[in-house]
Symmetry: C2
Subunit: 189 residues, 2 copies
């Protein structure tokens, strides 16, 4: 068994079961297209996709900065594609990012850090990216988008409360730069 | 894209995140051992395991009868192994079984039927096996263990309520035969 420190990105589709129940072939077609986008962005950011089932994607990165940059690239790409689709065909992802001393076995990723990443993704709103404070501490000052603290949350089956930070990737670059310089405060979402 | 009618078995570990948080290497060791047991029983019953992430297992069977026999074999095997372990090392699975006209793409299984199987597994108690009425109808009279109706349940993100039946695999064979003959009524669990 191999152990290593990693940033874990966990993504899933908002309302996947509902979408699949309403139009299975259409949902699978959109999911396949979007998964191609997600997988290629993960590879571009030096991440590695581990076993995925249904709509869930779990990827490992050697760098927290790269994992969060990748999450932003994913949400921006999906957002652009959704804008071209009628409402009922849109598909949104929620993303959680966490750090963990993970274990690798049989090409699968295991550990508390992986489970916490998935739980953080579950509390994210549609199209949002949420980080644990552990991931936040590694990216603060190193990425060009602001974050908002969402406070501590109790996550299902996770013993300790987790401090969660949202990445405000929807701001345009000008706003983001001004907020990071401290000349503008973060708008309400 | 390939479509086919299949019985879907969805299994996951009760309290997996909690177990992993308390002892990650011990949990992974037990999970690996139990997954070997589960995977070999699925193969023995002519099932095929599809993409699994973390503690979840999704398998497809060409026969509903075989999928439920496999689920019972899994719970009996895990139960025997747990009996030899101290309490804190025990690991229980919940299993959901459903029928579905599923889609296969890139060695992954998709469709409403797969999602419903997973949701049925989520409402099962530890070590229980729950079937949808669609699966139940295909096994009634063909398997040697009784079932109890748990009534209709609303499952998360599933549009219609699902009638659920529990397989009472814990009964010994003598009790089960008498219940099936109608000379004994089902005991409370």
């Amino acid at each position: 068994m191999e152990r290593r420190l990693a940033a874990i990105l966990s993504a899933d589709v908002v309302g996947y079961s509902r979408l699949m129940g309403a139009d299975d072939e259409g949902t699978l077609a959109t999911l396949s297209t979007y998964r191609d986008v997600v997988d290629s962005l993960i590879a571009e950011h030096q991440g590695h996709v581990f076993g995925s089932a249904g709509d869930s994607v779990v990827a490992e990165f050697g760098s927290a900065v790269q994992s969060v940059r990748c999450a932003v690239a994913i949400q921006r790409a999906i957002n652009r594609r959704n804008a071209d689709l009628p409402d009922r065909q849109r598909m949104e992802f929620r993303i959680g990012v966490n750090l963990g001393d993970i274990m690798v076995q049989n090409d699968n990723l295991y550990g508390d850090g992986v489970n916490v990443a998935a739980r953080i993704g579950e509390v994210a709103d549609p199209s949002d990216i949420c980080n644990s404070s552990e991931a936040y501490e590694q990216i603060a000052g190193k990425v060009s988008f602001p974050t908002s603290s969402l406070g501590e949350r109790n996550l299902k089956n996770i013993a300790r409360p987790v401090s969660i930070y949202r990445v405000d990737w929807r701001l345009d670059d000008m706003q983001a730069r001004e907020i990071l310089r401290g000349s503008l405060s973060l708008p309400d979402k």
